[in-house]
Amino acid sequence: MLEIRNVWKTFHPGTPNEVRALQGVDLTLEDGSFTIIIGTNGSGKSTTLNAVAGSFFVDEGQLRIGGTDVTRWPEHRRASLIGRVFQNPFSGTAPSLSIAENFSLAARRGLSRGLGPALGSRMKAEMRDAVRQLNMGLEARLDNAIGTLSGGQRQALTLLMAAWRKPQLLLLDEHTAALDPKSADQVIALSETLIARDRLTTLMVTHSMQQAASLGDRLIMMHRGKVIHDLRGAEKARVRPADLLERFEELRRSELLDESAAEMLERLYV
């Protein structure tokens, strides 16, 4: 479904701020797979998702979604294939528009937008049913500005909106990181339901080892702009939070080793 082929991305090349964020990422997601990405801060998880979504063009490599080469497609064009939820609950909704209007925007993701009324009564009935399933009491507030809702409520709505038109690919970037534990659990439960219901091919970034162990059918670990571990099937099913922490610890030790080795070489030769 998604093919990431040898993708490279350097921010601010040739300046003191140069960051080699992606250094040859290779990843192929099968149709209907639910893949979790973990990794240390700055390892390139968000950059990978942004590269797929088209927030910027990659320096090198290829991106295919459902067999179509989208490497040079602008972000708004790729959106016809991709549903997205951001880490920041403010990013996914238009605050001064009502819940219903936000939904009407998501209902035309990837379609042309003309002079038809944005809110038909049929659409409103459909979205009321969907929103009711959140059990947040929001179905009575469809005409309220979304900016008046809590972060958890907004994130749940963003998720519903992203999945509304059954995207070929769902991108979730730490979408519960900014929420309190209870809201985070609610949003995770909703994610699981939606992903399972429509068998959505999903790529989800998280820092929660709990989520990484319990969710999804495949687990990827990134480090320094590369995929360094790839667990699937039975191996993924067996994995526990403690094992994952172990891997991070391993990584930290080898980094320290790298540094002390470099220091030693420096002492010897400089």
Binding site: A53, S80, I82, R84, A94, P95, L105, A118, M161
Partner: protein, 311 residues
């Protein structure tokens, strides 16, 4: 009384300016000063066409079309050429000064003897009332003023309704979301750059429509008439927001029209009380400045009650 009636009529006409400013500054959060040129463009095109004997309605809408082109140019400069938004507006505005002079061929076109929407309204009024002055509650009112005060608000009402319904279409909703959260609307498959271009075309179309009507009302088009117009429009928007709030689009549109009329009435009264007309722009600018900083100042006072008690 006639003074106030005239002020109200101008207020209604310039509510088109205020609506345009509302679209660019509030909906798109785009500080667009193309308006200072496009309002004149609307006036210039309408005036030239009217002196060539075009039908008033056609000439007026041609003026609005000119404004839409100007807005499109600013939008393209900002989104496709990546030029700073304020600078994009300044560039278009500056270019428009020469273009407006080209259109007009001279710096001022009088419209006193031409058939305009205003003379049309006056003719209808005379036919309806059968005389040239009316007595309303003991006041002598010129039929011209009375008929304009019926025709202009009716026209504004039509424009407001059209704007309201347009902003609730799929396209209009996407445009509003663009100003609110461009990242979100891109993720939902909309080219936000195109939305900005459409928005500025809409905004400057409204403003040029206002300019075309203003020229017909005051009986001339002048190449200088746009100076200070953005701030006047902003003042109207701000008064409207204070009057009815910003919660719902319908309120915001109504408030903007009310703000424009109230602003004109206040200006008329102030001038009557001896305010020097030359000081008008300074006072308007000071008013907008105050409206921009006072809410923030109040907020910071509320957030730091400690520093107040220590002061």
């Amino acid at each position: 009384m006639n003074l106030l009636l005239g002020a109200a009529a101008i207020g209604f006409i310039l509510s088109l300016l205020a609506l345009g400013v509302y679209v660019s500054f509030r909906i798109f959060e785009f500080s667009d000063i193309t308006a200072e040129g496009s309002i004149t463009t609307g006036a210039a095109i309408a005036a030239v066409l009217l002196t060539h004997g075009w039908a008033p309605l056609t000439a007026t809408f041609a003026g609005a079309l000119g404004g839409m082109c100007a807005g499109t140019v600013t939008g393209l400069l900002a989104t496709r050429c990546g030029i700073n938004r304020l600078l994009s507006g300044i560039l278009t505005m500056t270019a428009l000064y020469s273009i407006n002079l080209r259109i007009m061929g001279k710096s001022n076109i009088p419209l006193t003897n031409d058939h305009t929407m205003v003379s049309q309204a006056e003719a209808w009024g005379k036919a309806a009332f059968g005389k040239s002055t009316l007595a309303i509650w003991g006041w002598e009112v010129a039929v011209r003023d009375a008929s304009l005060l019926i025709m202009v608000p009716a026209l504004i009402l039509v424009v407001c309704l059209a704007l309201y319904f347009f902003l609730h279409t799929n396209l209009g909703t996407a445009m509003r979301a663009t100003g609110d959260n461009a990242q979100m609307i891109r993720a939902l498959g909309v080219d936000d750059g195109v939305m900005v271009v459409f928005g500025l075309a809409l905004s400057n179309g409204l403003i040029a429509l206002g300019g075309a009507l203003l020229a017909q009302y005051q009986g001339f088009a002048d190449v200088q008439m746009g100076i200070g117009m953005v701030v006047w429009g902003l003042a109207s928007v701000i008064i409207g927001e204070a009057l009815v709030g910003t919660r719902k689009l319908g309120y915001a549109i109504t408030g903007t029209v009310m703000g424009s009329v109230l602003f004109r009435l206040l200006v008329a009264v102030a001038l009557r009380w001896g305010l020097n007309p030359n000081d008008l722009k300074l006072i308007t600018a000071a008013f907008v400045l105050a409206a921009l900083i006072v809410p923030n100042a109040l907020k910071s006072l509320k957030q730091k009650p400690r520093s107040l008690t220590h002061a």
